[in-house]
């Protein structure tokens, strides 16, 4: 079961959501609600930090892809970072890395969010 995510506004500009444990067909809805709430707060960049995530299935991918599309609609950038090798592999096999870039860590994700030349 996924443990509660943390959501921390950073310098009033970035928001961070860090799901932990497993993101599966049961727990994905919780993250969907967290991301939807984060997008209503007007952050310029929403960082999804996967460093504490041990498992993701297609249900989790779907939630992240939907958040990326909703973020674009409200002028927010989504940055996904710190995926473990297996979680990264799931992103790659599904083809999501063609749409969502994976950053090594939170610092790189935040830096990319501030640099317009690196936006997707």
């Amino acid at each position: 079961m996924m443990t509660p995510e943390t959501m921390t506004p950073e310098a009033g500009r970035n928001a961070v959501v860090a799901p932990a444990g497993r993101l599966d067909a049961v727990s994905a809805q919780g993250l969907e609600l967290q991301l939807a709430e984060a997008l209503t707060r007007g952050a310029a960049t929403l960082i999804i930090d996967l460093s504490q995530l041990t498992f993701i299935s297609s249900a989790g991918l779907r939630v992240i892809l939907l958040a990326e599309r909703r973020a674009k609609a409200v002028g927010c950038r989504i940055r996904v970072c710190a995926a473990s090798p297996l979680v990264r592999e799931v992103f790659e096999v599904s083809g999501l890395t063609a749409v969502i870039r994976l950053y090594p860590g939170r610092e790189e994700a935040a830096a990319a969010g501030c640099d317009a030349s690196r936006l997707d």
């Binding site: 299935s57 297609s58 599904s94 063609a98």
Partner: protein
């Protein structure tokens, strides 16, 4: 594959999304009882979830009660999962998986089949009477 010899675990699911909670608990039990390597455990959990979710969501006419029997077994170092269900004919080997180039505009779904094909080392399917029979093997 495991340090404790042969293992055989069975679960029967109805075509109800609430059944996925029971599936997850069942997988947790298998992981506790079997010392699977990390990648194998990940692949097994992922494939069990993807196949079962597909069945409870799309496998049957919602007005009809459907059943999926899942068996996970190890023997002589081989790990296999067999899915036998009463849903409409569905051959995952014949279905087209979504391609990466499609993703920017594609619906935010349809990832599961590609994941199963990648994480299972071997898949076999047959339509046996009015049942689908799918077997996955894992290295």
């Amino acid at each position: 594959m495991t340090g404790s010899g042969a293992m055989r675990e069975k679960l029967v699911l109805r075509n109800d999304r609430a059944e996925i909670v029971r599936l997850i608990g069942w997988i947790d039990g298998i992981e506790r009882r079997c010392a699977l390597p990390a990648r194998t455990a990940y692949a097994l959990r992922l494939c069990l979830e993807e196949i079962a979710v597909n069945f409870v969501s799309y496998g049957c006419d919602p007005a009809v009660e459907g059943v999926m029997e899942i068996e996970v077994r190890t023997d002589r170092g081989r790990l296999e999962a067999t899915f036998r269900d009463t849903g409409r004919p569905f051959d995952p080997l014949a279905e087209r998986a979504s391609q990466p180039a499609d993703r920017a505009a594609a619906p935010a779904s349809g990832f599961g089949l590609a994941l199963v094909r990648h994480f299972a080392s071997r898949l076999s399917y047959q339509r046996a009477g009015d049942h689908n029979l799918l077997t996955l093997s894992f290295e």
